[in-house]
Subunit: 582 residues, 2 copies
């Protein structure tokens, strides 16, 4: 049964990879011409003295890509401008990850303007007075109309001044557009400059997927950032155990009673004490884990990725490693996990240690599937945190329904969780088959819930194009290898040396299979092949809308912070209209 399950897993993985890669190609063929298909992001542009980045890009690409080069737009340092425009939303974006509600796309000016218009439309005197302090609660009492108009005017003046000065603040990076997809692909795949750290090209993300805030351009800076982030991730993953262990240690009853004496009568009720000792540690653990995805997102954006999609993918991978370590290994190696890290320095011992530790935690993980898996899926349906957060904002920050934006899919938070349950299923199915029905329920529930969420709740902010699949595949392979290692250890413990020896080739065979998949399928997920690109280019030649599309391409990659801003004029017009109507 065991070996057939392995073969089934492998077979399934192969078919699934094939299926998703074919879907990806189909999706590409069906797509309309999109700016990012024709565009390349170039970083590390060398600038000679006395010339600008724009001139440098223009001369390089007209010289070396004369037949395919179309246009370019240089990236500018808009950090200050962004702070001016999105002042309020910066705070919102910090809370975004917890509440999963607001996406940074509306500028502050937009919001003030919409509030102003609404206020005028309602024209109710008691609504027109408010306070100008934090969350509209404190501060002087002001006339809201005047207040909003003044705010808007302030923002506009500041932004216009900053916009005029920012034109000179060029970052040595540019979005270069080409006349054909194949031309863009050639520029991405062929090393451009003699110095590989200059003229570094990569496929451009979709225009609204670009992550403008941390636009890092220099090769060396990105390389150093990557190393720092790598170390930070390891430190975070390993040391995250310490607070969790401390918190879990503090949640025993005696400690609580000493700290909060007034609770002692309540804690003496058996039911309450059971709930507290049973659920509090896992609740605290869950809360702690909620902080991690935004931290991983932050680390990934520091790392030098310039698109939300790349940041999410990178954060997804980081959070997956984090989850596997902090949920699976930390619980398997139990409280003394930090001490037992030593095991990984003696590879010979790993199978035996795992074989001893893993089976003893079977009941814990079955409970984990129910307490964490089922409840998290159910809470995903209710979206409790976002609900509370919206309620609070409406109540205290004076936000209304128009301020609400459709949330994007939190791939980086959800995929690792789902992959973890896959890991539990693969490693425990032969140690404690009782886990399987629970997992089946989890996956059925998850399928229904996420179908609903994806269709009715979330609005994708970018096309993933199936690029998250290789991460899932990788986690599956890791689970299989881990299972083989545990099997080797268990057969060793049970003194069945022959069975143990026969298991030794299995992890290697699985890794070989992985290698084959990487070679056979992964290239499709990294870039589209020439066959597809040229076919699409040929199709476009007969498309009458192409010249118009190429014209638009020139301005597709303009930083949203640099868009001309003119609200007061519009609001004045609106104002006078309203006054006329009144």
């Amino acid at each position: 049964m065991w070996s057939s399950k392995c073969i089934w897993d492998i077979q399934y993985n192969l078919q699934e990879y094939d299926y998703i890669s074919s879907k990806r190609i189909t999706c590409f063929y069906a797509s309309k011409p999109q700016p990012h298909q024709f565009t390349v992001l170039v970083r590390g542009i060398p600038v000679s003295l006395g010339s600008s980045v724009t001139e440098s890009v223009e001369s390089f690409f007209t010289e070396y890509h004369s037949s395919t080069y179309l246009s370019h737009s240089v990236v500018r340092q808009t950090g200050k401008l962004q702070r001016l425009l999105w002042q309020e939303t910066v705070i919102a974006s910090l809370s975004y990850e917890f509440t999963n509600v607001v996406m940074i796309s509306q500028s502050d000016a937009d919001k003030w303007y919409r509030r102003l218009v609404k206020l005028k439309a309602k024209n109710l005197p008691h609504k027109r007075s408010g306070r100008d302090g934090f969350l509209g609660l404190f501060g002087r009492k002001v006339d809201l109309l005047d207040h909003y108009e003044k705010k808007l005017q302030d923002i506009e003046d500041n932004v216009r001044m900053e916009q005029s000065s920012v034109v000179e603040k060029e970052v040595p990076a540019a979005f270069v557009s080409f006349k054909s997809r194949y031309g863009a692909a050639a520029a991405v795949h062929i090393e451009q400059g003699v110095n590989p750290t200059e003229w570094v090209t990569e496929p451009a993300p979709e225009p609204n997927d670009v992550h403008w805030p941390f636009f890092s351009a220099s090769f060396l800076k990105r390389w150093i950032c990557k190393i720092i982030v790598f170390i930070a991730c390891i430190v975070l993953t390993v040391l995250f155990l310490i607070p969790v262990v401390i918190v879990q240690g503090l949640t025993n009853l005696d400690q609580l009673e000493t700290w909060f004496p007034f609770l002692s009568s309540l804690l003496s009720i058996t039911f309450v004490s059971e709930v507290i000792t049973g659920y509090l540690p896992s609740l605290i653990l869950q809360l702690f884990q909620r902080i991690v995805p935004p931290i991983m997102m932050m680390l990934s954006s520091v790392q030098g990725h310039n698109a939300l999609s790349q940041i999410q993918k990178s954060a997804c991978f980081k959070f997956l490693l984090f989850t596997i370590w902090n949920v699976f290994f930390a619980n398997v190696l139990s409280g003394s996990a930090l001490y037992q890290v030593n095991v990984f320095l003696e590879p010979k011992e790993i199978p035996l240690v795992l074989a001893e530790a893993v089976p003893s935690q079977a009941s814990f993980f079955i409970a984990y599937v129910v307490t964490s898996g089922w409840t998290s899926t159910a809470s995903e349906l209710f979206r409790l945190f976002p609900l509370i957060s919206i309620f609070m904002k409406k109540k205290f920050a004076g936000k209304d329904d128009d301020d609400f934006e459709v949330p994007s899919v939190p791939y980086h938070g959800q995929i690792p969780k789902i992959a973890l349950f896959g890991l539990l299923g693969v490693t425990y199915f032969f140690l404690a088959p009782l886990i399987l029905p629970f997992l089946l329920v989890y996956y059925c529930l998850g399928y229904i819930v996420f179908c609903n969420q994806l269709l009715n709740v979330y609005a994708p902010k970018f096309e993933t194009g199936g690029t998250f699949w290789p991460i899932v595949h990788g986690s599956m392979i890791f689970s299989l290898v881990l299972m083989h290692i545990i099997a080797i250890g268990i057969f060793g413990l049970k003194e069945l040396p022959l069975a143990s020896i026969f298991c030794v080739p299995l992890p290697f065979l699985t890794l070989l299979f992985h290698d084959y998949c990487q070679k056979r399928f992964l290239p499709i997920f990294k870039a589209y092949p020439a066959e597809c690109l040229v076919k699409k280019d040929h199709d476009d030649q007969n498309d009458p809308s192409m010249p118009e599309f190429l014209d638009k391409l020139v301005t597709a990659y303009r930083d949203p912070a640099l868009k001309p801003i003119n609200y007061s004029g519009r609001s004045d017009g609106h104002d006078s209209l309203l006054q006329h109507a009144a």
Copy 2:
């Protein structure tokens, strides 16, 4: 002193990498248009039922690379033909690696023809009779003129018959030529087919660098071969110790006297016995090591490389690992090396074990530099083995000076040896600085000898373009990391924990430096950047000889076995001329 040496090493490596990569670019700019710059090797060509590989290639490239595609030549299964043409040379090629004399480029027919012409020119009756058996020693006495003519006729008939039948035996691989270097580079770098295992492209080698015999085309076959070769290399490297240890064990005097009783009087002379016990083991070791490079070459060619340059590079890397393991580690961990392999399964123990074992072998390695390093460099100058082999061939196989071909540079045999002495220098300079003057002499000697050999003896069969440098750089980095690990162990042994801890970051910093170099320089060694390619293409546009060159390009990659053969006609003509003269 120690840390300054480290920094100096790193500094030197960086400068050297920079220097060699700039040399590589300069060499490319200075080069004339060459077929391999415009050509791409395509493997895994899918063929639909009822069509041929030629049609498939033609339709694919005219459709997807219509603006740059020029022509193609499909590879054919010429194994049988090659056996017919190079029957004699196959034996020679086996001995090539040992003697380093004959390169497979003259066909048998060529040789017979030249012998025939020479025989006729001399027209001496006593030279005209010989024997037709092995090495001209045994067999019936025959008239050489008749014999040669018959031989030539036979070969010609067979070859013509085989050539006409081989046209249909297409291998799903082709050399596809483009009109520009940039077009060829785009085809190499962009994935061609939707299925990444089909239409696999790689840069074409120089026409005379192509290794026709094992022309493997299928992706899966190459993948499996690679895995098998990988395993074979590990097995060979690890198990090579066994025969060496056995042989070394057998070379003690008692054993020799029991085996060869007649030697006992000779062995009782102290001088003789000292020479035998002192030199015999290392001589046997050296002889054993001479077998390895050809085996590595064989493995590399099985692996699916299709150019002599690639095969040599791959063999060079394999032989380097082999040398480091079998000379350095085997001697450091001494006789019980096989048992001590266990150390590598307990990474924590490695520094201590090395710190104990490495210093004790200092005197052995100083002696090794003299016995193996100095003598091998000196013997390189004399080329003793090739000399003997040529002498034997001339004497017994009836070969004359015309049969002698200029040897090519044996990079794969020499670079690992030189790198090994670098490893010894880096690891021993702070344990036994006495090794440094010996190494200095070795490197000075080596510099002079190899300057002479490269300028006056060898004729390069292909342009390396500096692509061996990354291997040397890698071995240098490995040496540095090994030195750091030994230092950590030694400070640990001497109970200086603080020094030991301060050394711990060093290997990581060195690896980071290596990573930087890989990113900064390695891309230049893998492919030429667009800047260079387009510049060269522009230069060519003004070159009047380009149309002629492109015409020649069409036939540049024709299998030499398929060239039309016509000796008897020429020899007849020659014959009649000679008879007239007589």
